[in-house]
Point group: none
Chain length 200, copies 4
DNA sequence: AATGAATGAGCTTTCATTCAT
DNA sequence: GATGAATGAAAGCTCATTCAT
């Protein structure tokens, strides 16, 4: 029944969002299943109808939140209107950075776990032919998929990692001051990849 | 007395190294203080003479291990014999990467916590005048210390973050294949920083 | 369900009575929660479903036992058949004294904690209009409630306090020998209150 | 050696007074020997040179503090200048009450443990022939020592017990309001004892 | 006499998990 | 499906006490 299905969906959602609040405010270890269930308004036993344990829920939460982050960038940024690949990439990067800047709790939760695998999956959900998306962005020719992956991976790691302490603690500098350096570095990496002989 | 002092130092060391073994093999959460103490050969209560709790010990361990990692690179790599800054930086980077490649347990433990703050402190312990060390490596002129910090920070984040999944799971590619791309990216970043007008 | 509710009530009761036995035989400090739970036939964790900690249970126990003590005096003594106020008061006093004499464990537990507040609450539970009870006993006119309270308080403190060492250690004399002096003192106090000008 | 003796006396004193502070602020149970020793400025092992355990120290402290309380009343009150026994007794009682009113921490510590035995000992320390002191106060003839004891005991219990909640929580009334009633009650008790046929 | 590092028994407390309702 | 009372293993932590120095 639709009614029942909705109810289930609602409980699942309530559990996940409550857990997100608790994980980010107290940490995974100090959050108990009892606490999650109570705040979510369901009985303790109900938790086990949806998740194996706390860690199962946590994992699903990381994936859900990362996917939302990437989807937002793909759908809301104006990367398509940028003329060159670097412009497109930076449009996406900036959208992600600004989401995290405006949602520090999310940043703390995702921590440095912006993973390449999740990014790939998010694109896949959005556009099943994900290598087409890469090519649209980076303007690469087919055939060097692996190289494309490495390029994206490198940039994703740099962005995901460096923004963490910059946004959260302003160390070594704040985001405003860091952004031009990050942009320049990303462009430099992109250029260095483009300079490679085709078909490498 | 020296006897007592030595004994204390030994106990502290035994606790830390035992904890390192357990943390890396079972994870922080699944390791109990009782377990650490027993394997370290001290009584449970003794643990609390040295650490506030498990997390206090963990934090001190991350710092100790990172410092050792950086010190090894500074002392054992041949970065001084490289002619240009990029060569020096890459010599240091490679030393760290190879340490982590050969010690995956250490890599897993430090995770993505190679922090800029610890790096600074490690240099400071080694050579009190740490900005002199940076200048020796990067050949910068005095006066743009902040820029130097940002440069080192960016590279440290890229290296520390990208090597993790490459070394541990070969995803998206293995270290051997990734290394040239990482080198090229690091060089590109360095060049982009050098191209800045002096005194920025 | 009734079944579940009954079961809970039974567990609560079992915990309280077991704790009473242990507290009185070994003292509060030397009684552990593990011990209480085991003897009560419930799991250790169950204790925490009913009480915050040992001291919470102790407090509730003092109140419960005092209330029972007072209720017995109110219901079982023949104070109503006494002609004058002093006779009524002494009938109540004696009932309490004899309960304590016959139940030294109870005396030791309640110690000198026979409190005026609990007495008031016990009367209230028994007869919601508690100042009516006082007037029935002491024959006072309405309007000087505060004075009534002080009178009862004074007598309660004297009785509760003086009987302790007399009953438990016969110091300075045994109960039999002390009783006439206590009676005389209580009468003297009552008389001194009655001699006050009305409406004070 | 005097020097050594002084040092010991000083440590003992420091331990007792520190313990008094801690016992009254946190309670006996929540105060540890380590805490007492540290605050007293001696090593943990030193504690055991002076006391068997925490409870031994507590007991000695109750006696010391009660004795000081009684001695103050005997030495500082003007009971000797009162003409009649009731006046003398009330002078002593008031001195004790005012000490406790001005030192609520002391009141809380002594709680309802103002014991007849300690009172006897305090008098004994002050004037070896303690029954002479009683007679001086109460004007009794020799021979009915037991009766004297009972009289003093009764009054001591009433005063010690009733002042507790009156001073500490103003329940059922504050000390100022209660004092006349307590005085009247004490006088009434004294009178009732005096009315007994001599040589009882 | 004095110290304080070390001990380890034993306590309180938490919490994932089960299962009768 | 949903509940939440009950469980009991296992964790963290305290603390009185000892004893080599």
């Amino acid at each position: 029944m639709g009614r029942v299905e909705d109810n289930k969906q609602q409980k699942l959602n309530s559990l996940m969002e409550t857990a997100f609040q608790l994980f980010t405010s107290q940490g995974l270890t100090k959050t108990s299943i009892a606490e999650i269930a109570e705040l979510a308004g369901v009985a303790k036993g109900t938790f086990y109808l949806y998740f194996k344990d706390k860690y199962d829920l946590h994992e699903k939460l990381v994936i859900r939140k990362s996917e939302q982050l990437f989807l937002h960038a793909l759908e809301e940024s104006d990367y398509r209107s940028q003329p060159d690949p670097a412009g497109k990439v930076l449009a996406l990067v900036d959208d992600i950075l600004f989401q995290l800047r405006d949602n520090k709790v999310l940043l703390q939760f995702i921590n440095k776990n912006l993973s390449w695998g999740v990014f790939r999956r998010a694109i896949n959900k959005w556009q099943p032919d994900y290598s087409a998306v890469f090519e649209e962005i980076l303007g690469s020719k087919p055939g060097d998929d692996k190289l494309l992956e490495i390029e994206v991976y490198t940039i994703l790691e740099l962005v995901g990692s460096s923004c963490y302490s910059v946004i959260l603690s302003g160390d070594p500098v704040g985001l405003d001051e860091y952004l031009p350096h990050l942009h320049r570095s990303v462009r430099a990496i992109l250029d260095s990849f483009q300079a490679l002989p085709a078909g490498d």
